[in-house]
């Protein structure tokens, strides 16, 4: 029996990521983990994490917040590590030593996914391991103190690309990892946000049902790194979706589908203005920079719409 994805039923399930973890007050990462594990509640799961905030805060000394088997190896190798676990599972299952249907999930931050862990991730996906890799993307190296990563948005202020008098924060584009993962030709790739939890949970559940490698990129606000309030993680992730900064979509067997379309596309300033990391963009004379960001967001959204249209079933044949 599959547990329905409603909160009343889900709240009766055991929370397999416990309280007592040492993540910051208001951090969205534990909420994302909670949602993933709730979506996977009908399965035994094994989780691997890369070094990062979630990892160091969830398992310290003799205390672990994990109630599922969990392994942390190093920063750049969560995917390779989990591919080892998953392969051993297949080996032992083939030998009749295990009969359970176990799901394998990697949960790592953007540093360990976009940057240092990218080779390991790409390799594991190409080898077609039966695993779901979830990136909780907070857009910088938060664990080491808010350094820029390949996931840091353009013009964000970080400690290694601070907004200065000459350089206005990170000058480069954010690497579009979700599209790169889709280009691996794996069966399922998606973007999700904790603000849209039914969408997120459906994606996780769908991914777990699919044989082979899956990747989900989850928008995960960090109030310390973004210099926002401790209570607005969900609000900000909702704004990211509504401004189309973080579109919710999936690429299933090569077919792109936008899963949540904002009723009204909000201007990007709605998303930017609440965050200290973009504060410098609102100084007089910096209007051009915000325009540039808006253009990038618009371009990406348009491209996504076109991509979806390309695969949409023809009206006549419906």
């Amino acid at each position: 029996m599959t547990t329905p994805l409603n909160l009343k039923e889900l709240s009766k399930k055991e929370l397999r990521f416990t309280a007592g973890h040492r993540l910051c007050a208001g951090c969205a990462a534990p909420t994302v983990v909670k949602m993933i594990l709730l979506a996977a509640c009908d399965y035994p799961v094994v989780v691997a994490s890369a070094t990062g905030c979630l990892e160091v805060s969830s398992c310290i000394s003799t205390y672990t917040a994990w109630k599922v088997p969990w392994i942390h190896n190093a920063f750049e190798n969560a995917a390779a590590t989990l591919s080892g676990v998953e392969t051993m599972y297949r080996a032992l299952k083939k030998q009749g030593k295990i009969d359970k249907d176990i799901k394998f999930i990697a949960i790592s931050g953007d540093g360990g996914t976009y940057d240092i862990g990218f080779q390991s991730l790409s390799g594991a996906m190409e080898r077609w391991h039966n695993m779901l890799y979830v990136c909780y993307d907070n857009g910088a190296y938060m664990n080491t103190g808010i350094q820029r990563s390949g996931a840091t948005p353009t013009f964000a202020d970080t400690t290694t690309c601070p907004a200065g008098s000459v350089i206005p924060g990170k000058p480069q584009h954010r690497k579009d990892l979700t599209r790169i993962m889709a280009a691996h030709g794996i069966p399922y790739v998606a973007q999700a946000s904790p603000s849209h939890w039914p969408d997120l949970m459906k994606k996780v559940r769908k991914a777990l049902e699919i044989e082979g490698p899956k990747f989900i990129n989850v928008f995960t606000p960090c109030n310390r790194g973004w210099r926002t309030r401790t209570d607005d993680a969900i609000l900000l992730s909702r704004l990211a979706v509504e401004t189309c900064f973080w579109p919710l979509y999936e690429v299933e067997n090569g077919v792109t589908r936008i899963t949540v379309k904002p009723k009204e596309k909000k201007p990007i300033t709605e998303f930017l203005k609440a965050q200290g990391r973009f504060k410098h963009l609102f100084e007089p004379g910096k209007e051009k920079l915000i325009e540039q960001i808006q253009e990038m967001v618009d371009k990406n959204w348009e491209r996504l719409l076109k991509e979806e249209e390309m695969f949409a079933p023809k009206q006549e044949t419906q």
Partner: protein, 393 residues
Amino acid sequence: MTKIVAVTGNEAVANAFRQVEPDVCAAYPITPQTELMQRFAAFVSNGQVKTEMILVESEHSAMSACVGAAAAGGRVATATSSQGLALMWEILFIASGLRLPIVMPVVNRALSAPINIHCDHSDAMGARDSGWIQLWSENAQEAYDNTIQAFRIAEHMDIRLPVMVCYDGFIISHSIERIEYLDDEVVKNFVGEYKPLYPLLDVDNPKSYGPLILTDLYHEVRKAHSEVYKKVPQVVLEVAKEFEKISGRGYGLFESYRLEDAEIGIVILNSAAGTTKDVIDEYRDKGVKVGLLKPRLFRPFPYEEVGNALKHLKAVCVLDRADAFGGSFGPLYLDIAASLCNFKEKPILINRIYGLGGRDYMPEHAGQVIEELIEIAKTGKVKVLKEYIGVRE
């Protein structure tokens, strides 16, 4: 029934892998290891083993996948050389720190720069303090025998540590030699069924691997870890004793050759030890009392036993097939010196670096060293403490 064959060292070790049948094997190609994993991959492809291979995209991922697979709860092996081992370096410490019994033949090859594919020991020496047990092998037979024993040592419940089996690139890995294979069944019975400790795949009893340990506990964790190594020599000897019963071939922590009544001695690892033994025989025929010590268990290093085996000599040359750059001595020399430093009466030690990047170690090199030792034993004078031999001026 043993089987006598003429095979390369890599083929012999691949055959040991076939007989042991690890559950999971990660592999990434690097010369001169490549042939070993190719041969093993053929066993997998032809259904001769139950092993699942992970054909990773780098050695770093090879070792990372081995860590995951071993933690999951099954028998795991990989192999590498040189740059590959260097790339694994970070994860080597994690494999040992997590007490995962991974077995890894290291087909010794020089490190870059400059790039070179031939034998020396700088790769394994660079990883000697990574917490891996190291067994060194003179020839294809020893590489085969050590590989089989490595699984027993690594998986011993008191040990649970990863093991490297070192043998010389090309000189052993690619040369054909006569060796004796044990029967498949004999090997299978010897290594036995794998017993997991804290398997991650036991989902009913969830464990967390790899916690953050800070100042309050890290020191204790390391002390606990260091204590395990004290048990290793005893287990290595026990396993060797059992191995002798099935093979007739005896192994110790090190090999002593004509050392007991010797006055001068050579300490040397791997294939060059064989060449040296032949030269020692020639000098013995001339009445020179020379002997040899060839370490087998290099990590943990059996300081006390080695010191006792060498202390009666007048002069000893430690021959290193790896230099420690930055003005230090060869790595083997440092351990031999440490093993002797607390004896009141001890031999004079010299250090000679030979055979880097596959430079041939010839009988005349051994002869040159013996001549020098004769002179030192006679005069008590050392001209130069550390020097390269077989090098063009």
